[in-house]
Symmetry: C2
């Protein structure tokens, strides 16, 4: 009974009362109740097809990280609760805590950035280029986050160390460009800004110091709501003067490239802020490196990009897909991480920035390690890939050959040959039946995409050969047993 | 200060008062206090060197699983608390619970077997051959578990489905044989027994039905303590008669192969038990398949093998290393899983068995799905590999070439060439400095094992060449810029 099923392994079961139209089949662990209302939950199993897609996406991303010389690290799924405290602003309420069963208070990691900073401080690492791919946990408010998972992957690449300005920052953007190009998700744009430019802009527009953060998070909504709504929130809810709001409005509508950075350096108001000038000078430098990397076709300096988290100190960026098809409900999931929480474009697939102060928060002597990094919104990528693959057949194994027989009493011969193939490094399967029908053996090959069948019979055994059948063409040839491994390798060299 | 450090990200910090001799450097997150006493904790970070070793081990294991046609699945790190309830006997106290923050009660997974069974029942999967590699969580009693981690990997391979007897079971043992051979951990032995043989033996020896489990867990200690101690526990603590104990003693000292199974089938007492006969007949069949798979050199039918967990219903097995060097304290960690908890040999590196009843516990109609599987004790393997590698240099990146310069003001040219190489799929690094010294660039190559350096200078730029230096021989040749990618690929084709 469906009601009975609800008790089976349903972690974080939640009723989404308003989501009757939730697409079925997307969430592997979504269930329909008798009334037809959709029941969903915060986590999902990955079935073999989803895992095959996941593996492909990971391979693309990891290859890119390795091409850039990154090392790999891993940290525990839980941290001391106090490690996470005070790092995520009001999102801290989304942190999963472990029950106090004696010992330290622990929480599940909320992102990979804070554990990375803790790792650097604890191990006194002052420079490293590393990637980290792992699951993070957020008790998202179901009403607000249709289709978001509470357990999702982050794919982070970060460069820690004291270097000349903007070189590692440019490499992070190059990486985003490479990954999004290789994943073939359609056209994309990478928006770039700088926390210092934003702060400088707020200062010269007359925003009081203590309102920078709150005004910043209002600006961050510009990719979802109109300027009129943003202006109204600034003035009516946050008490900003109309003049200040209008001045901000003029700046945040600006988009461009190196030219815009140069123009703003000459801007009468903006040039009064030291902070803004530092940010703009770096922005010029960044674009000069991006030109060398040949990625300026996709990168735009956009003064409306704010991003939520407090820990950014310099350049910030976010990549969005510009030609998505019908967006699945679940696409709102954004693994791009931290800041994508606020100010998320529906199409956001990567984000990051520079955070020079975070490591120092974990060092007893407050020693700083400058860092810049990027997080790929891999769950969004998975759902796009899964949608693309929904009609296609995706192989979930890599088996090259099925060892079969048309005759009875040949189980032992099949097992013997299968072991020979395994020992020679061939990926081989055999049915766990004494006398399976040839048809069911061939059907299994069709179903799971196994390209070859090695068929044994009394005659073949006598002749010292194996009948090698190509599944798609049904062509069969006798291959001498001692040439079989070689022949299978030759025919499946692309597997 | 060390005292200050203890507050940094120390999840599950525990004082191991008695472990002053704990080997330093093993646990990445172990710290020494001022008094010299070792402080350890339940989890660890993996640094890049450890990750490189981990990746190598995983690749070996995953290749083997794929060679056998296994699919891959993944499940969430937490399950409904009730999913785990009643599956682990008294070990249930080791389960990590999440704090009740509203919603369902959740627990971190304790192994991968119960989530697998839940997955099969929930998705109505009746046959699958799958592997699952993921971390599991146990609040182990630190006093009892020197060096064990509270977060550790399990590598599980299971075959679910109704098949002819012992064929999938034999494949699991073949897999253990392949993996342990390929990992080159030294000689090993795989002990095999059957729950039905044990139960039949207890019955014919006069053990009361309600004492089967507790006597079984006493037998399970035979790999650690003498028969005298085991006998004494049976008689004095568990109230077994001396006659019954002595009869058990005669059986559990037996070891052999197919011959032993045949002998016991003729045994006057043993043959009175239907259960024992069923197990012994299957054991004979198993050995006949193991002969075809050519793995009987390492497999021994051992009547003292018991294994702890309740859910086994048929064949059980455990692999041990027989020629370990100095065993690190941490080697007691046993990822082999469930049952290795009790009855663990120090050298145990894999274990598993048949569990035909577990899936039915999660199905509303109690439909059974027979399963057999094996869990590789990967943490034990890691620690052996880490020890082996402790003196060696292990590469933590795959970088093929460093783009360098001996002259000043060539940053832009270096970045341009680096991007060319990245775009051609070459793994390349460049220093994030405007004018790094050649020596420091070469030193970085030495340190991280980068085999080639592409050196740019004014003259090379004029001539359209790059000076390609082989790090180990210091040999340098000029390579035409348009032949550079090809030349790097040729020279690093083994990377």
């Amino acid at each position: 009974s469906p009601a009975g099923m609800i008790n089976l392994g349903m972690a974080s079961l939640r009723l989404y009362a308003g989501l009757v139209g939730y697409p079925s089949g997307f969430c592997a662990r979504s269930l329909r109740t008798l009334s037809g209302m959709t029941v969903s939950q915060g986590t999902r199993d990955y079935n073999p097809k989803q895992m095959a897609i996941r593996e492909k996406v990971f391979n693309t991303i990891i290859s890119c990280f390795k091409r850039h010389g990154a090392e790999n690290i891993d940290t525990p799924v839980f941290e001391l609760k106090e490690t996470l405290t005070g790092k995520y602003g009001e999102d801290s309420k989304l942190i999963y805590d472990l029950k106090d069963q004696g010992g330290e208070l622990l929480s599940l990691r909320y992102d990979l950035t804070v554990p990375f900073a803790r790792y650097l401080a604890m191990n006194k690492v002052t420079n490293i280029k590393r990637y980290h791919i792992a699951k993070v946990y957020r008790r998202d408010n179901p009403a607000m986050t249709r289709g978001r998972y509470r357990e999702f992957y982050q794919c982070d690449f970060d460069i820690a160390g004291q270097y000349d300005p903007m070189i590692p920052d440019a490499e992070c953007l190059k990486i985003v460009h490479e990954i999004l190009s290789e994943l073939e998700l359609g056209d994309f744009r990478i928006k770039v800004n700088d926390r210092r430019i934003l702060d400088g802009m707020f200062a010269v527009c007359g925003v009081p110091d203590d309102k920078f953060r709150t005004i910043c998070s209002t600006v961050d909504k510009l990719d979802k709501v109109s300027w009129e709504d943003v202006r109204s929130e600034m003035v009516k809810e946050k008490g900003l003067s109309e003049e200040a709001a209008d001045q901000i409005g003029q700046y945040v509508s600006l988009q461009g490239g190196m030219d815009l950075a140069e123009r703003l350096l000459q801007d009468a108001k903006m040039s009064q802020s030291k902070q803004a000038c530092a940010g703009l000078t770096d922005m010029k430098q960044l674009f000069s490196y991006l030109q060398l990397f040949q990625v300026t076709d996709k990168v735009v300096f956009d003064l409306s990009l704010a991003r939520g988290l407090d820990y950014y100190t310099g350049v910030i960026y976010e990549a969005i897909l510009t030609q998505t098809g019908p967006v699945p409900v679940a696409a709102a999931q954004n693994g791009a991480g931290e800041k994508a929480e606020e100010g998320v474009s529906v199409g956001s697939v990567a984000g990051g920035g520079r955070y020079d102060g975070l490591v120092g928060m974990f060092d007893p002597k407050g020693r700083k390690v400058p860092c810049v990094g990027v997080s790929i919104g891999i769950e969004r990528v998975f759902s796009i890939m899964e949608q693309k693959a929904s009609a296609e057949k995706v192989r979930t194994t890599e088996t090259q050959v099925m060892v079969a027989s048309a005759q009875k009493n040949l189980l032992e011969e099949r097992l013997r040959l299968t072991a020979e193939l395994w020992n020679a490094g061939i990926k081989a399967e055999v049915m766990y039946k004494k006398n399976p029908k040839l048809l069911s053996q061939l059907q299994h090959c069709e179903d799971s995409g196994i390209p070859l069948v090695a068929i044994l019979g009394e005659q073949e055994l006598k002749d010292g050969v194996v009948k090698l059948r190509t599944v798609h063409s049904r062509e069969e040839i006798d291959v001498s047993r001692d040439k079989l491994v070689e022949e299978i390798k030759r025919r499946t060299s692309d597997v």
